[in-house]
Structures are given as C-alpha cells and as structure tokens.
C-alpha cells in the first residue's frame, strides 16, 4: 500500500457538529506527498476545525480519513502524531519556560537506564538539539539549553518545524506560522517550509496573509461556511485578487 501514488491523506465526507452548529459540512480533501497546500478562508470558515480534526484534537461526527491508503481513527493527538501528522499551533506549540532540547522532545523524551527511574537522557537530547539547530541555521550562539521564552518568534517557529522534521512527520500542519513576524523572519519561516517539502514532508499552511501563502504553496484550498469551495487553485495561474474573491464568495471558483 505504501507506494508513491497513494495520497498521503484523504478525508472523505467529513461532518462535524458542535452541538447544533454545523462546523464542517461534506469536507473532502486530498493531500499528496511532498506538496504544500495553502488552506484559506475567512474567520469562522472552518479552517481551524478542519485541522483540529486532522490533528486528533477534536472528534469528527462522521466521515472517513485515510492515511497512506489505510483507514484511521484519530481519537487523540497521540493517534495523529503516531500516524505522522504534526500540528504547529501559533500559540501552543512550545513551552516558554523549558529549554529548546526539552521542547524538542516534549512528549517523546529520550530516556536512559531502567524505565522505573524514568530518567531523561539530557546529554543525548541536548546533543541532538544542537545538531538540529545547526541544520536549520539558528545555531550561532544559541545553546540547546536556552529556554524557548528567550527566542524570537521566527526562531520559535524554526524550532517547532525542526521538531516536526526530526520526528519524520509525513504531514506538518502550520497554523499561522508567520503571524507577528518581521519581514526577515517570515522569509526564514517560508524557507523552512520549503526545506521541509524538499525533504519529502507535506505541509498544510494556514495564514491570513495571502502574500505569504502565494510565495510558498503548490496549491490553495479555500473554505467557506464549513465546506471546501475551491480545492485546486494554483498560485501560478491565479492572482491574489482571484483568491480573495473566492474567500469572500464574490466568485464561485477560479
């Protein structure tokens, strides 16, 4: 089943009700391997519900999800992580008080010795973290024991993306990764996203700033009122104005 033609993720007829609110309606979405998909839509269009379903944070009411052709049930974030889906939320990706290394391995800590002692292998964790920081290009003077709280917004995104790459997630979902970042830092984050794609990871990229999305994605998916209204807009053949019209409902499709 694991051949390259099988899509990485297939969501079929996903429905989600929050009480009586119909948050997702007949959502069908396919993500191929090694592609960056921009997920766009106005506030309340259903983007965040969709990614919460895909990351196991909220249960869906009905529908099917296949990953690499195999049907899965995502009941928890651990299910999603085990299926190779890593979500980087804008405010809740990292713990500011913990060091870079401790954040990188949070929930997947390396241990040594008897399991009874539950002992962290901090040396190894710091070693791997330093290596990883060098690879994403923010090693300069930042030791892996630095608390996340003293990093800039761009460096934090870099750490979060590096973590997803290290754990070999097939799909990295980035929720507003360029929010509150300066110009240079935004370019840095977009570079990491491309690097992730070039090393074979797929990405779902969510951002309000359509310019950022245009710079990095292979195709764009637009949601409106809980459903997908356009699913294959190419940044090469469409303009930003076209996409904005689809988001607001001025135009049915491109």
């Amino acid at each position: 089943m694991d051949d390259a033609n099988v899509p990485l993720v297939e969501m079929r007829q996903i429905e989600k009700f929050y009480g009586r609110v119909h948050a997702l309606h007949d959502v069908n979405l396919t993500i191929k391997r090694g592609e960056i998909v921009g997920l766009l839509g106005d506030n309340g269009a259903g983007k965040s519900t969709l990614i919460k379903v895909l990351s196991g944070a909220v249960p869906y009411t009905s529908g099917q999800i296949r990953i690499k052709g195999r049907e899965v049930t995502l009941r928890s974030t651990n299910d999603a992580i085990d299926s190779g889906i890593e979500t980087i939320y804008q405010d809740s990706a990292l713990v500011p008080q913990l060091s870079i290394a401790r954040n990188l391995f949070l929930g997947r800590e390396l241990r040594k010795g008897s399991a009874l002692l539950d002992r962290l292998d901090l040396d190894r964790m710091n070693e791997v973290a330093a290596e990883l920081l060098k690879r994403v290009g923010i090693s300069k003077n930042i030791p892996p024991t630095t608390p996340i709280g003293s990093l800039s917004g761009g460096e934090r995104q870099a750490v979060a993306i590096a973590r997803a790459m290290y754990f070999d997630s097939d799909l990295i979902i980035l929720d507003e990764p360029t929010n509150n970042l300066g110009v240079a830092e935004t370019q840095g984050v977009l570079r990491f996203v491309r690097e992730a794609r070039d090393s074979g990871h797929s990405c779902i990229f969510i951002a309000h700033n359509i310019h950022h999305v245009f710079q990095v994605v292979d195709r764009m998916v637009v949601m409106r009122r809980g459903t997908i209204v356009a699913d294959d807009i190419s940044p090469k053949t469409s303009t930003i104005q076209d996409v904005e019209d689809v988001i607001t409902g001025e135009q049915i499709a491109v």
Binding site: T77, N78, I81, S92, P96, L106, G107, D118, R119, S150
Partner: protein, 344 residues
C-alpha cells in the same frame, strides 16, 4: 550553517562569565543570599542561635511543614495549588489514632488506611480541577472545609490519645531520634531524614525525569503539552494525590511528636506552605519550580520564627517579618524576570 566556529580563546572567558551570571539569575540565588544574611545576623546578635541544641530543635519543627512544601512545589509548577493540605494535616492523624485506639486496627494498618484516605481526597481534588475545569482555589477551599469539618465532627472536637505510640516500631521509624557525635551532640529526628530523602527524590523527579518534564510543560503551556500528547490531566491528578498524601504523612509525624492528634491542628498551614514555596522562586502561575528554592524557603521561614524570638523581637511580630519577606522576594523575582526577558 556555514558560519566559522568562534575562536576558543575568546569563547572560554565568555562562558565562565555567563556561568556566574546564570548562577546569579537563578531563582534560588535571592533566597540563598537572604538565608545566609539572616543566619549571620541572628548569630551576631545572639550566638545561642547557632548552638547545636537550637539548630536541632529548629530543624525538627521545620520538616513537618517542609514535607508539604516539597509536594506543593511540584503541584504549583504544574500550575495548581492545594489549600486543603492544612486540614488533611489535622484530619489524617485523627483517622489513624481513632482506628488504632478503637482497637480495630494495628498501628501500621491504621497508618496505611489514613494515607489511603488522603489519596482519595487528593484524587477528588484532581478530578474536580481537571474534569470539571473548576479553579483549584475553589476546589481545594471547599475540600478544606469538608475535611476540617469531618475531623471536628468525628472527634466532637477532642484530641485523640496517642500515648501508646512509645513502643511502636512505626513511631520510631517516623519520629525516633538519635544523636550525631555522641550524647550532647546534634539531636536528629528521623523526620529530618525523611525530609532530606524526599527533597532529593522530588528534586530528581522535577529536573531529571520525563514526568518532571511533563510537570513543567503542564504548568508552562498546557495547550502545547497536550498537543504533544502529554497527559496533562493525569499529571495534575497525580500531583494533587501526592500533595494530599504528603500532608497526611506530615500530620501523622507531627501527632506522634506532640503526642496528640488534634482535629484543629494544621489550621493556616496551607498559606505558610505556599509562602515557603513562592519565596523559593517557584512561580504561582506554574511552569517554573525549584525544590532547592523550596528547601531554602522552608529554612528561611522556620529559622526566622526561631531567630526573632532569640534576638528579643516579640513573637507576635513574626507575621510582619514573614509578610515583608514574601513581598520583597516577589519584587526581587519580578525584577529578575523582567531583566531576564529584556536582556535577550
């Protein structure tokens, strides 16, 4: 990625300097300085403060609150706190001695039952906080009243007898004493040994284990921890249980030492314990905690109580000093925090 490595000759003094700076910036630094200053001041004014007898006595009373403070440090690092510890401190020995005096259970079994009751109380606290999402302030305030009320109701307000404790092995394991350096030397109670052992164990848990990483992450950013699959609710429930059981353990030790299980004992301890923990640099809102800091905080408050009496300050003025220490320590931690954030 292709930056040249910094020249080692330049790098070495830099790291040494920053190691010193890191030491000063540590949350434990302020309390350490305060403790040293306090001990020196008391000793200069009244040399009896540094005598073996006085230190032995001060350490004995220290550990009962200190044990609770150790557990509270972990709970507060995970972002919660427990106001019911003082009432459990009074209630658990009542349970143990009532069962023992009634002749139904042997002392060790009654001890285990009392700890099991404390386990249950902590579990209920944790469930209310994690399942129902009620702030721990309200949950544990309610529990404080329930537990204290039960202790008073069960005993009709009278202390339970404990004087058959003398020949019990459990009593000597918990509070037996011995002299370091022969008779007349430093008198050490077993309870102090328990405090030291548990301080080492919990320091290791907080800093060296995966569970400790989860505790810090739960208090620091519970959303991020959950997204990484950390069972934050389970972490909190376990720590509520730990805090309850430690309060029971401390209460039982105290009841054997003073030969009375008073249903009113431990009143107000919850606030003194929280004061010890925050003086040591643990943050009330969670994410950062230090057992070393808590040990310093425990020593500061208990030696302060002991010292101001010895240097002739009226004992009733004790709370003024405690309040002033809390306020100045909070100001110091806030200042360090601000400088830490600005400097990066």
């Amino acid at each position: 990625m292709t930056e040249p490595e910094p020249a080692p000759a330049r790098a070495a003094p830099m790291t040494r300097q920053s190691a010193l700076r890191r030491f000063i910036a540590r949350p434990e630094f302020g309390p350490l300085v305060l403790l040293i200053a306090m001990v020196s001041l008391f000793t200069v004014i009244n040399p009896a403060f540094a005598s073996l007898t006085n230190i032995g006595n001060a350490l004995t009373f220290t550990v009962e609150l200190g044990l609770i403070a150790l557990a509270m440090t972990l709970l507060m690092t995970a972002g919660e706190f427990d106001l019911s510890v003082g009432s459990i401190f009074g209630f658990s020995p009542v349970v143990m001695w009532a069962l023992f005096n009634a002749g139904t259970l042997s002392l060790p079994v009654a001890f285990v039952v009392a700890l099991a009751v404390a386990f249950f109380i902590g579990w209920v606290n944790g469930m209310f906080v994690t399942r129902l999402g009620i702030p721990s302030f309200l949950v544990t305030l309610g529990m404080l009243l329930v537990v204290r009320g039960t202790a008073l109701w069960v005993t009709n307000g009278f202390p339970q007898r404990t004087w058959e404790a003398g020949d019990q092995w459990l009593a000597s394991v918990l509070v037996g004493d011995f002299f370091v350096g022969g008779p007349g030397g430093l008198r050490v109670y077993m309870s102090l040994i328990w405090f030291i052992v548990l301080a080492f164990v919990l320091h290791y848990v907080l800093t060296g284990t995966r569970f400790g990483n989860w505790i810090q992450a739960t208090g620091g950013n519970s959303g991020a921890a959950r997204n990484r699959g950390v069972p934050t609710a389970r972490v909190k429930v376990i720590l509520f249980i730990l805090s309850s059981m430690m309060a029971a353990f401390a209460g039982i030790i105290s009841s054997i030492r003073v030969s009375a299980a008073n249903p009113n004992s431990g009143t107000g301890y919850e606030l003194e314990v929280i004061a010890m923990v925050v003086i040591g640099g643990t943050v009330l809102t969670g994410g950062r905690g230090s057992i070393i800091g808590t040990v310093l905080g425990v020593l500061i408050l208990r030696l302060m109580r002991n010292g101001i009496v010895l240097i002739g300050v009226p004992g009733l003025a004790y709370n003024i000093f405690i309040g002033a220490i809390i306020l100045s320590m909070m100001a110091l931690h806030a200042g360090l925090e601000r400088r830490h954030n600005a400097g990066t």
